[in-house]
Assembly symmetry: C2
Homo-oligomer: 203 residues x 2
């Protein structure tokens, strides 16, 4: 399987994938000049920048995205800091082949500022979710999750750091499991080849 | 502190409190003939049944409830299977002194059928929350939480059993901590006497 990674920020999850030995064939960013692109360069990966302002609409943007993915023979896509919703057409083009990482135990705290909102609410546990991307916003079938505590003395930055550390531990593990075919999306549900593998619960 | 426990079902959490040595001074049920009342009897506890059909409205019902609590000198209330919302007047009467147990990691899955809904959604982690009761529905400040995994081979009944076991482990621990003054509601926020005690995260 050739994996593409969609980025747009610090690339900390891209870096976690690469340091864990997960093989990435293409990096696409929606923003120029971001750290994620430097990481791609450092690892000698193919990369490209597709900036929304260069396209008249979302359809045109996603057409360019799919064209790049196709050109590099990408069959699977991992989103990691790519702050755009894909069009239904793009999602339909890669059934069960696009995954996203979200910094909460979905369905709690979908959307932006998930960590901050959980922190403000005073939850004692939040976490990290990897899910297949569907047409909703952070609603797709859950592949793996790990709980992360908010400690009472935490500043927001401490809690964010702990959540990000959990992301970096979970995501590469899950991507490797998907790459080995240990889980797949069948009829809208996630089916696991081996029941209760540790990785799906983040251990 | 004299604690009252509000029940209405199997009383499995009441039983968990009592077997753990947590002292209960009064049990009130909104239903007659339930197992929870048998447990109260077995442990020689004062108990009474207040049936909604005997009262013209919620205000009258809650007036009777508060009267019973007062008669027995109850200062703190733990809800455990009491399937009624308290009126704002009742809640205001016991500031920071009414706690509820909910079978999810709130704010995920408030309301009824929380376990079943989480199971149907295919979450890999849900859990249990103890929170102070406010005027919303399962929205009050969180005191303690514990995550509980859904294992992939689980039937709904297996998952329910695991959640209930977590309730029985968490709730008595939290009630004892509250009784000792280790946490309190101050200006609408939960403040802990000792930071990062194990019990607040369910360990």
């Amino acid at each position: 399987m050739r994996w593409g990674v969609l980025v747009g920020g610090t690339g900390s999850n891209l870096k976690a994938m690469l340091t864990s030995g997960f093989s990435v064939s293409l990096v696409i960013s929606h923003k120029a000049g971001v750290k994620a692109l430097e990481i791609a360069r450092d690892y000698g990966l193919e990369s490209c920048v597709l900036m929304p302002k260069d396209y008249p609409d979302r359809q045109a943007y996603d057409a360019a995205l799919v064209e790049q993915l196709s050109r590099f023979g990408i069959e699977r896509v991992a989103m990691a800091g790519f702050l755009r919703w894909l069009t239904p057409e793009t999602i339909a083009r890669y059934p069960g082949a696009i995954v996203n990482l979200h910094p909460s135990l979905l369905p709690a705290y979908p959307g932006l500022h998930a960590i901050e909102r959980a922190f403000s609410d005073g939850v004692l546990w939040s976490g990290v979710t990897v899910h297949f991307v569907d047409e909703g916003h952070d609603t797709g079938p859950i592949v793996a999750q790990v709980p992360v505590p908010r400690l009472v003395g935490d500043a927001l930055a401490d809690f964010e750091e702990r959540i990000h550390a959990a992301e970096h531990a979970l995501y590469p593990q899950v991507l490797k499991a998907l790459d080995r075919g240990q889980a797949a999306l069948i009829d809208g549900r996630v089916e696991y080849k081996k029941e209760n593998d540790q990785w799906m619960h983040g251990h």
